[in-house]
Amino acid sequence: MADTPHKPVPRPYQDTQAYWDAAREKRLILQRCRDCQKFQFFPRGVCSHCLGSALEWVDSPGRGVVHTFTIAHRAPHPGFANQVPFVIGIIELEEGVRMMTNIVGCDPNSVRIDMPVKVTFEEATPDITLPQFTPA
């Protein structure tokens, strides 16, 4: 076991492999339905708007605003112990979908709802890079 436990990381599977592969290349990609043209997050095998299965990947510029957030003062896992207090937020992307993230690179107490943010990337392990957001 490593000296410092890393955070829990995702185990990519069929529907999400492309998403995590892109994240490792520091790209944020979103799923869009070719039938109804709507975006969805997170990735899955069927469009949850129209049940279409023709889903494509679209590069996102990763811009949005904070829809809501919390500041966690306790580590839910040893991997977060050196990060408390940290911000968990919901970002509303320009594409219209909302995604969960940490809001990093700023004082947690400076985070506000409707604050503009942009994507950044955190290499959690050699295999997994997490999209994160920081003030724009």
Partner: protein, 418 residues
């Protein structure tokens, strides 16, 4: 009230079923007992409270989160021959929904009388916060995009709804702190409550931050306990010991339009009551203005506020005022969680709040008032510390169960007659 729900109101089972027995163990931290042993104790107490024999109970429903024994050994320990049982996954909002399921099972002829229980070592065993051992479980499924960001505990899961409510409606920490203040007053008149000390708004907002905007005292207790209720038809209820608490209407597990990740859709500052209330009030044949006492689930101070608001006890956005203007305190227009609730009495995933309202409707709440020659409490209606907690002439109660902002159940009960 305009939503067409497509059911003839005459088809409802309004007032045809009742809760006839209630029972619990001591609310503790460190029970020293298995969940099976506690369940046996609580179910026994509920059956005896109803004036029934084990042979008159033939249905059992229990809920858990992989943290408790199943209902079959509990029935066996009590000598109950089951015609129907089911164990489901769930926490808050399970009990109200299972009361409806019990009614359906009896109505279908599957059984005659059902015990519903929840047994949990929520402090000494598996804790609710999903910390410790549970945090080490693999990240998969819908946790892929959540847990990797540290989104784990109940507080973290719900805090973002309150944060947005503050933004949308100007609700303040001080306003929801009044929920803890009210429930602590109620608990101070409840000899079985774990926390009986009265607190102030300042105590709450000056307690340490757990996950903003939730302070330590905005969060409920973690305790070890079992709690149980007995549901049967109104005909059988007449042979039981107490005035029955008739089930006027029930909804659950009602949901928001999207339950895959509710924070990604719709208004975050609105909870499921907004979507469930038409069905509830239509089923019960009454409205929020008719209710004498509420049991709005207090996993956190703001969950009580948000549900009361979304089920229509006040206008949307005015929940902060509603919970801080005296309405929800004993002596106010519509007290909430007169036992002290999950914030002060003990954490039982909702059964305790139904138990309390059954006792309220019996006019026999177990406070420190003297017992009269008829064996019932002689209530003083003096709500000062250590005093009475009976709501005067309570006729109608509502329980609002919270499984999250996006999932919940509700129950309206009416005082019956012998």
């Amino acid at each position: 009230m305009t939503i067409e729900i497509g059911i003839d109101p005459s088809a409802y089972l309004r007032d045809k079923y009742a809760i006839v027995g209630v029972g619990e163990t001591t609310y503790t931290r460190g029970s020293g007992k298995t969940t099976r042993a506690m369940a046996v104790q609580a179910v026994r107490n509920a059956i005896l409270d109803a004036g029934l024999k084990p042979s008159q109970v033939d249905g059992m429903l229990a809920y858990q989160n992989g943290d408790a024994c199943f209902s079959t050994p509990v029935a066996g320990d009590l000598g109950i021959h089951l015609n129907f049982y089911m164990d489901i996954f769930g926490g808050g909002s399970s009990v109200e929904a299972l009361i409806g399921v019990a009614m359906g099972a009896i109505e279908a002829g599957m059984c005659k009388t059902v015990v519903i229980y929840r047994s949990m070592n929520g402090y000494s065993g598996v804790r609710i916060g999903w910390t410790g051992v549970r945090a080490a479980r693999p990240v998969e499924g819908d946790a892929l995009h959540n847990r990797v960001y540290g989104w784990t505990s109940a507080g973290q899961r719900y805090a973002m709804s309150f944060m947005r409510h503050m933004y949308d409606y100007g609700t303040t920490s001080e306003q929801v702190a009044a929920v803890k203040v009210a429930h602590s007053k109620h608990a101070s008149n409840n000899p079985k409550a774990l926390y009986r000390k009265r607190v102030t708004v300042e105590d709450v907002v000056n307690s340490r931050m757990v996950c903003a905007p939730l302070h330590l005292l905005d969060c409920c207790l973690e305790t070890d306990n079992a709690t149980a209720v007995v549901v049967t038809s109104v005909d059988r209820a007449r042979d039981c010991r107490h005035v029955p608490a008739l089930i006027a209407g029930v909804v659950g597990r009602a949901c928001q339009p999207r339950t895959d990740m509710h924070l990604q859709y719709g208004p975050v500052s609105t909870s499921v009551g907004h979507y469930a209330r038409e069905r509830l009030w239509k089923a019960a044949g009454v409205g929020p203005e008719d209710i004498d006492v509420t049991g709005s689930y207090d996993a956190f101070t703001f969950t009580t506020m948000m549900q009361l608001e979304d089920y229509g006890f006040c206008k949307k956005g005015e929940g902060g005022d509603y919970v801080s203007n005296g309405t929800i305190e004993l002596g106010g227009r519509r007290p909430n969680n007169t036992s002290g609730g999950a914030l002060c009495e003990g954490y039982t995933h909702g059964v305790s709040m139904v138990i309390e309202n059954v006792r309220q409707l019996r006019h026999d709440v177990d406070d420190s008032c003297p017992v009269g020659p008829d064996g019932h409490k002689q209530h003083t209606f003096d709500y000062r510390e250590g005093g009475c907690r009976q709501v005067k002439d309570a006729q109608l109660s509502t329980n609002l169960g919270w499984a999250g902002p996006d999932k919940g159940s509700a129950l309206v009960m009416r005082r019956g007659t012998r």
